[in-house]
Symmetry: C2
Subunit: 327 residues, 2 copies
């Protein structure tokens, strides 16, 4: 039996929806216990009705609009801060929340703690690829400014994740740049390239923005500023195309019928980039697995996110990263 703490108050939807997701995860995994963090009115009745659910009653909620670091300091009795603290003291083996990425990162970095030797944890996400293979992209915004040794650790953590969770025995790690030649990049990125070439055997060279969804590399590393811009450019493009397709579908009777026949397929494509399948992002470099769900969440997203944390605990993600760093 393992115990995952899930934040009932996280995400744009209701705590009831999060609880539905937790129930689905408990149904799917008989070896799973969930510590449900949140306001008493939601978590107590839910835990009373589910034998493998235990309540962690909290009184404060960190909202999406709160300043992350400030909220973590001032809302000590929030589901995010208490959830991370429960992991630290061993009441839970991992944490899942669909709340504010910045707040979860801040709370987890302080309360869960870093793996020995890790300079800074990173936010990573697996993205679908045209080739059918997925790519792990990191850092997605935790560290706007990075030193070369941080990028080296991102590459090492990413490679360990790819081996453990993506089923890739020999991961290919690339550096996001403005051209594939090794001479391409800002001064900073040229320094990243040199450090990766020296320290990371899995490093295969530079890649470009167009490679992120191509499924050519298993891991793509960059500083958090660049990763955030790339990820949000990708999200913006998906939104743009979906809005254009909707407008086109409504343009005539012919296109309305066409869209009606394709609607299921189009929805599943839009869903691929929405984070529902994988349950969002993962924090790498912490002493226990902490996963972050997409804000605009669903029952499936909560279920899959919770099960992904459980898989990370069972697969000993933390131990594998520590091993890689020790080499």
């Amino acid at each position: 039996m393992i115990t995952i703490c899930v934040d009932a108050m996280g995400g744009d939807e209701s705590p009831e929806l999060v609880c539905e997701g937790i129930a689905a995860a408990l149904d799917a995994d008989p070896e799973l216990c969930v510590l449900v963090a949140g306001n008493a009115e939601y978590v107590e009745p839910f835990c009373a009705a589910h034998s493998r659910a235990k309540a962690l009653v909290t009184t404060e909620v960190i909202e999406m609009g709160d300043h992350p670091a400030e909220a973590v300091r001032s809302k000590r009795d929030s589901s995010i801060v208490r959830g991370c603290a429960a992991v630290r003291v061993g009441e839970a083996d991992g944490f899942f929340s669909a709340g504010s990425t910045g707040a979860i990162f801040a709370a987890a970095a302080t309360n869960v703690g870093k793996i020995r030797g890790i300079k800074r944890p990173a936010i990573a996400s697996t993205l679908p690829g045209m080739s059918g293979r997925e790519t792990l992209l990191l850092d997605l915004g935790a560290n706007a400014d990075c030193r070369p040794e941080m990028i080296v650790q991102f590459a090492q953590m990413g490679a360990a994740y790819a081996r453990t969770f993506m089923g890739v025995a020999e991961p290919r790690v690339a550096l996001l740049s403005n051209g594939t030649e090794e001479t391409k990049g800002s001064e900073q990125v040229l320094a990243f390239h040199a450090a990766l070439a020296e320290a990371v055997p899995e490093f295969v060279g530079n890649c470009e923005g167009v490679d992120i969804l191509a499924g050519t590399y298993d891991v793509i590393v960059c500083d958090g500023f660049t990763g955030n811009v790339a990820l949000k450019s990708l999200e913006g493009t998906a939104k743009f195309l979906v809005s254009r397709i909707k407008a086109a579908a409504n343009a005539s009777l012919k296109t309305k019928i066409g869209a009606g026949l394709m609607v299921g397929a189009l929805r599943s494509i839009a869903g691929e980039l929405s984070g529902d399948v994988k349950g969002g992002a993962v924090l790498l470099g912490l002493k226990a697995p902490v996963f972050i769900g997409h804000g605009s969440t669903s029952v499936d997203a909560i279920k899959n996110g919770t099960l992904a944390v459980a898989a990370a605990v069972r697969g000993d993600l933390t131990g594998r990263i520590a091993e890689t760093l020790a080499k």
Copy 2:
């Protein structure tokens, strides 16, 4: 009468296709002359058959795979180098090529020359927006490392372009960052923000990658590294979604019929992000308009690109930028 030099050898398609595009531009604009740069076998017969076309016979071709700066130095008799030189000596009022962006930038920076006071020219492109309004994004890769004073000039040039060509009397200029708050960004981007806030009245604050195709801002500025990553992430996402839609369309008879009814609409959406409509990118900060077409070109792309350079000459883009800088 104005004269635009067009590179017959540029682009992934044949010189014959480029010549068809030139013919279409000449048909559309009776006050236009074209100086057609390229190998004799293509440009001479074309110019013999078109009264307002004049041949600029060259013997070398800069290929897409050539190292830009090296190719510009070594292939002195290429259509790109000679075309830019023709602009410098006044044989043409502007230049259009669908060739290598890096080579055109290098040739134009040296041969066309910069507007007095400009530190570095920038590569800019107008992108479609969800709101129906377009956004000019720069720099797209000419300057991987930027100082704050360069970003200020990009903002000023972008604002001048928006006033002259996008019909926006009071352009809104934003800085691409990893969050909208002014405290967000790398150290470098925080310095960009401070410089813009002080020197550029059109500056309205930070924006994120998701805003690039939202049509919320008229101009978005960033260093060339970030702009290149953002633009290529956008292109990659469009490719990914188109490939997924194609696969989904072929999945069943129902979706095949649906896609058949929607095919025209889907093609036009894909075309919006392909560069065909606007004819690609524009170099800002040079003494004469130089536009770059999308590599995977078409007759319409060449026609529209050529006419766009003619419009930039007639609208005195160069003069307007010089005026803005002088303020």
